[in-house]
């Protein structure tokens, strides 16, 4: 199987769906001739033309709101937000409109739209090019939220997201774009939304994570395996709706749980996973449910010592795993 980078997988996911279904269009800032600031849409303008690869004005609410209207009128728009940080002006369109259109029309209208945005730190992007803002959207019924951690999943989940009849937020870790490579089949495949994946088996501690952090968790788990601790790593992949079965299953089996995310912890995906475990696995737990995430500061700072202080890495995760193992 050919080895692709995470961003190649995303680009090919869009390209293949655009070839397969002419209703699929791409729109956003600089997605056309430039091919996107990260090159995620590189080549699409040339292949599909300016009617299907649309450079929009610099206005995120419009990017999402126009995509909603286009989806209602039969297209399958992929709206790119240049950085997840800049999704905020579009929150009203996402939360008040896209998420509620099926419900408020009692099922008569749907919004088959994907909003793609790069998230995450570790690239000297500072406060506004590093955030992990998925939690806000994971609270919202009517939305689906997807964060892939491998090229395979990136492509397979993106294709599912594009085919999904409801609005999907698809967040890509920008540091993973070129850092993470993996096998991606040439043949058509999809990865279902709403299903977690166990990326490492183990019985001692269940680690739940997503995005780039999944990879770091696997590294940390490998590191403590030498000492006889066998950690399962569950990649959540879809953050809304969460895969309850996978979470409860792994937590009950292991009896110890660590939830790891890049975002700060308060009222976050990690909170929800911990709350689910606390409610559903009480009689199986051998230790407090632990969470590890970013500090409670507004975003990732620029200066390297500050950025390192913010960001998780395998060593920080390992430290926490050892604490939990020792409990």
């Amino acid at each position: 199987m050919p080895v692709k980078s995470y961003i190649e997988a995303i680009r090919e996911g869009m390209r293949d769906e655009m070839r397969r279904d002419e209703r699929v269009i791409v729109m956003g800032e600089d997605v056309g001739v430039k091919g996107g600031v990260f090159k995620a849409t590189d080549g699409l303008f040339t292949e599909f033309g300016e009617m299907r690869v649309i450079d929009t004005p610099l206005a995120e609410s419009a990017i999402v709101g126009v995509a909603i209207g286009a989806a209602i009128n039969g297209l399958r728009p992929i709206a790119e937000i240049q950085f997840q940080d800049f999704i905020m002006p579009a929150v009203d369109q996402i939360v008040s409109e896209a998420a509620k259109i099926r419900y408020r029309s009692n099922g008569d209208f749907g919004v088959p739209m994907v909003v793609r945005a790069p998230y995450g730190g570790g690239v000297h992007g500072a406060l506004y090019h590093s955030q992990s803002m998925e939690a806000m959207f994971c609270h919202i019924p009517g939305l689906k939220v997807v964060v892939p951690s491998t090229p395979y999943d990136a492509k397979g989940l993106l294709r599912s997201a594009i085919r999904d009849p409801d609005p999907v937020l698809y967040f890509e870790h920008k540091r993973a774009y070129r850092l993470i490579k993996g096998e991606v089949p040439e043949e058509e495949f999809t990865v279902p939304l709403g299903r977690a994946a166990t990326v490492r088996e183990g019985d001692d501690i269940a680690i739940f994570s997503y995005g780039l952090m999944t990879r770091f968790c696997v590294e940390a788990a490998d590191a403590i395996a030498a000492d006889g601790f066998d950690c399962a790593v569950v990649d959540l992949r879809t953050l809304r709706p969460l895969d309850l079965e996978a979470i409860v299953g792994a937590a009950r089996r292991c009896g110890k749980v660590l939830v790891v995310q890049e975002a700060n912890l308060a009222v976050s995906v990690a909170s929800e996973v911990a709350a689910i475990v606390a409610e559903e696995c009480f009689e199986y737990l051998d230790a407090p449910v632990m969470r590890l995430g970013g500090p409670e500061i507004p975003a990732v700072p620029f200066s390297p010592p500050l950025e390192e202080f913010y960001m998780l890495n395998p060593a920080k995760i390992e430290t926490r795993l050892r604490e939990l193992a020792a409990y």
């Binding site: 009617m51 299907r52 649309i54 709101g65 989806a71 209602i72 039969g74 409109e97 008569d108």
Partner: protein
């Protein structure tokens, strides 16, 4: 009835039948709207928001569209727009009485949150101006597929202060979308007058910032509104891009059944607006042109009353939704 030469609105080519249909729609909307207030005052409808004073603009403009082919993203005052497109008093009474069969939303939304799949009336929420972008998107999709359908959206003049209005009109102008944006300017956004909403004379002046035509039209004259909309629709169908139409209208009621407008709107202003009620004006004009014969207006009103009476009976007999149905249609059900 012989249609005299004067009975054809010369600038528009509208014949007497069309003008009578216009008047009939205006009356239907008014009669229905008045009934909603009665229901509210009787405690049977918790919320009413009116089209009264906007009927001429709404009917004139909506008649320039192809129902079910063009796309419409209306706002909460656009009762008359929906009637012209083919929704019925029953549809809206079901919504007002919160019945399961309400086609707008299955009574999930407050009344006056219009939507109808069959008629391409895009479901609206309560946040003002968001629908402008949805209409742009519908227009974009039509353009991408090479259809000549247009998208029409409407909003109040106060709502033009929102960012989404700006982003939508700018997007439509840049991409030359077949969009008609109607601003129904009734002078107030709840209590806030136009002078505190914009430093421009007209809402149509906003169009200048987007390089698109901005047309001011007498919203009390349905024929003038029809003409303006028809021109804009033609322009849009020919791929010439969007138009902003400002219809100067009057809000003959408080903002909604929750509002008391005496605090902020002088009674003389309201009295003057009522004296120029678009229904009166159009009736007089049609009678002068002999499009309406003596007695026609009364008969049209009586007919509308019968329609609304019947619809109300039907709506009252209709069931409320089942409580657990609240869980349905969050996501597509497979």
């Amino acid at each position: 009835m012989a249609v005299a030469k004067t009975s054809r609105a010369p600038e528009t080519g509208l014949d007497a039948d069309a003008m009578r249909a216009m008047y009939r729609h205006m009356v239907r909307a008014r009669v229905l709207d008045e009934r909603l207030w009665v229901l509210n005052r009787q405690g049977r409808a918790p919320f009413v928001i009116s089209c009264q004073g906007h009927e001429a603009a709404q009917v004139g403009i909506a008649m320039a569209l192809r129902p079910g082919y063009d796309w419409v993203a209306p706002y909460y005052r656009d009762l008359a727009v929906t009637l012209v497109l083919g929704m019925t008093p029953l549809d809206h009474l079901l919504a007002t009485l919160a019945r399961a069969g309400d086609p707008n939303s299955g009574s999930r939304q407050m009344p006056a949150h219009y939507g109808c799949r069959r008629l391409n009336i895009i479901t609206g929420g309560s946040a003002v101006a968001t629908q402008v972008l949805h209409a742009c998107g519908a227009a974009l999709a039509a353009k991408v597929r090479g259809e000549d359908a247009v998208a029409l959206t409407a909003l109040g003049e106060g709502s033009t202060s929102e960012g989404d209005f700006h982003e939508g009109l700018n997007f439509a102008a840049v991409h030359s979308l077949p969009l008609i944006c109607v601003v129904e300017n009734n002078g107030f956004a709840i209590s806030v007058p136009w002078a505190k909403q914009s430093h421009t004379k007209d809402a149509a002046d906003r169009a200048k910032g987007y390089g698109m035509p901005g047309v001011v039209v007498d919203g009390g004259d349905p024929i003038a509104c029809y003409a303006a909309a028809r021109d804009a629709v033609e322009r849009a169908r020919r791929g010439k891009g969007p138009t902003l139409i400002e219809a100067k209208v009057a809000r003959l009621t408080p903002h909604s059944s929750d509002d008391d407008d005496r605090l902020y709107k002088r009674r003389e202003v309201l009295a003057d607006e009522k004296a120029h009620d678009c229904l009166l004006r159009f009736r007089t004009a049609l009678e002068e042109r002999s499009v309406l014969a003596p007695g026609d207006a009364e008969e049209i009103r009586a007919e509308a009353m019968r329609e609304v009476d019947k619809a109300l009976d039907e709506a009252e007999a209709a069931p409320l939704p089942a409580p657990e149905s609240a869980l349905l249609n969050v996501y597509a059900e497979d």
